[in-house]
């Protein structure tokens, strides 16, 4: 029977904290950049210009239909060979995760916009508003309401996805865990603690998502 010993990990508490903060920071950056990319690609999907539509379609499908781990390795190891541009592990990680997340956000944003009654756009246009103004003032404010829950869900998945950046030696929570494991030979305790940390951060977040979903349904 295995005897658990968590005491040994106490001396590594700052490393755990460091890793956790790094994971949160990467997640925040990746969500913000991903949302910008997603908004751009999502609106391009709705454009009347077929070239813009094609570009965003290609982007979305490439990143949705290849594994994130493969993308990370490709951007870090293959892209420099191809272009001669060396990316730091952090840059490659944030860029890849943002592009990956953006492809999913784009679909959510496109879906949210097309779910709005076309009569809303017509009413805006009939007043003499330009299509851009209609999007900004009439369609998006209504569509965002529908989008927020799935966007939040996707962001929660992104939080967990950041654990993959450890393969590029980005010092996130999982990477620090690997370091601690090598130091202590206590993988069972270390990875249990790491799982608990992810869980403890995400459970309140999912509760907030649930509550905001209900709130949004009631609001204008």
């Amino acid at each position: 029977m295995y005897t658990w010993d968590f005491n040994i990990l106490w001396s590594y508490r700052w490393l755990f904290l460091n890793g956790t903060l790094m994971t949160i920071a990467i997640t925040a950056g990746v969500i913000i950049l991903g949302l910008l990319l997603g908004l751009l690609a999502g609106l391009m999907q709705l454009s009347r210009n077929p070239i813009l539509r094609w570009i965003s379609w290609a982007y979305i499908e490439i990143f949705r239909c290849t594994p994130l781990l493969v993308q990370l390795l490709w951007f870090y190891y293959a892209l420099p060979v191809l272009t001669g541009v060396e990316l730091s592990a952090m840059t490659a990680a944030v860029m890849t995760l943002s592009l990956y997340g953006g492809s999913f956000y784009a679909e959510v944003i496109r879906g949210g916009v097309i779910a709005i009654d076309p009569g809303q756009s017509e009413a805006g246009l009939a007043l003499g508003m330009t299509p851009a103004k209609v999007m900004k003032r009439i369609v998006l404010p209504q569509a965002i309401k529908q989008m927020i829950p799935p966007l939040m869900n996707q962001s929660i998945i992104q939080f967990k996805n950041t654990s993959l950046v450890s393969v590029l030696a980005v010092p996130d929570l999982l990477y620090q865990g690997q370091v601690i494991t090598m130091d202590t030979f206590r993988p069972l305790e270390v990875y249990t603690v790491i799982a608990v940390i992810y869980f403890v951060v995400l459970v309140p977040l999912t509760a907030i998502v649930k509550r905001s979903e209900k709130k949004l349904q009631r609001s204008h």
Partner: protein
């Protein structure tokens, strides 16, 4: 609006208008003239093209050929030419008010904000001035007390009256009504027709797509009967509705009560 009577007093002039969706020809060769201050009712069976014709007048549908003039603004369409630029379309539309069958109020804005939206965004009117204009118009349609309500708290008839106020806020030269009472419960139709009747009496130029024959007979100056994308018959409202000359018009009108008594 100036009261000057020019030799040619037409506010709207539609010439050789054509529209097709794919191979489906919806409007064949439409010519319409509407005098300033007059009310024209477009009637006809569903699929006759009357709503499409109305939507062509504010470019929500872009015609494939012909010419549309409203006031001093003219657009010429022909098959080869490119679509008018979005900005030009928007400018043209700001001169016409449109009222939809399903109201299409903005649900995320209050009644007052709905009415303010056009002047605020399109005319860049200062907020206080837009609010004042909106309150005046809401008073006119009898809904001054609903200014701070959201549309989902209103009845259908109230919604449509707000939609009329919203369109009027742009101070358009022409008002277009696309089956404005068709989605209403019967007991709510009268309040909307009442507002439209007042507008007509004030001298607003109005084009009305409607199935309310009694209303058309009473309020419209001219009735145009469309079928299969063609104007079958047009004439003074009472004359056309009481004594249609064409068999098709007669057959269509036989489905309606054409009088309010």
């Amino acid at each position: 609006m100036t009261g000057t009577v020019t030799p040619d007093n037409t506010k709207i002039e539609i010439t050789n208008l054509k529209k097709q969706f794919g191979s489906n020809i919806v409007l064949r060769d439409i010519n319409v003239k509407v005098d300033a201050g007059s009310v024209v009712a477009l009637i006809g069976p569903s699929g006759s093209g009357k709503s499409t014709l109305l939507r062509c007048m504010n470019l929500l549908v872009i015609p494939n050929g012909g010419r549309i003039r409203i006031g001093h603004h003219t657009f010429v369409f022909d098959d080869g030419s490119k679509m008018p630029r979005a900005k030009d379309q928007a400018h043209f539309r700001s001169n016409t008010g449109m009222v939809f069958q399903h109201f299409n109020l903005f649900p995320h804005k209050t009644v007052l904000q709905n009415v303010m939206e056009g002047p605020l965004v399109v005319k860049r009117m200062p907020k206080a001035q837009a609010a004042q204009l909106a309150r005046t118009l809401l008073g006119k349609v009898g809904l001054a007390d609903k200014a701070d309500t959201y549309p989902d708290r209103l009845s259908g008839g109230q919604k449509q009256r707000v939609a009329i106020a919203r369109a009027l806020a742009m101070e358009p030269e022409v008002m277009l009504f696309d089956e404005a009472t068709s989605a209403l419960d019967p007991e709510l139709v009268a309040e909307v027709l009442g507002v439209m009747r007042d507008l007509a009496a004030e001298g607003m130029t109005m084009i009305i797509v409607t199935h309310e024959m009694a209303f058309a007979r009473e309020v419209a100056d001219k009735v145009i009967f469309l079928r299969d994308g063609v104007i079958v018959e047009e004439g003074p409202a009472r004359e056309l509705i009481d004594n249609p000359k064409q068999e098709a018009t007669r057959a269509f009108l036989s489905h309606f009560h054409t009088r309010n008594d």
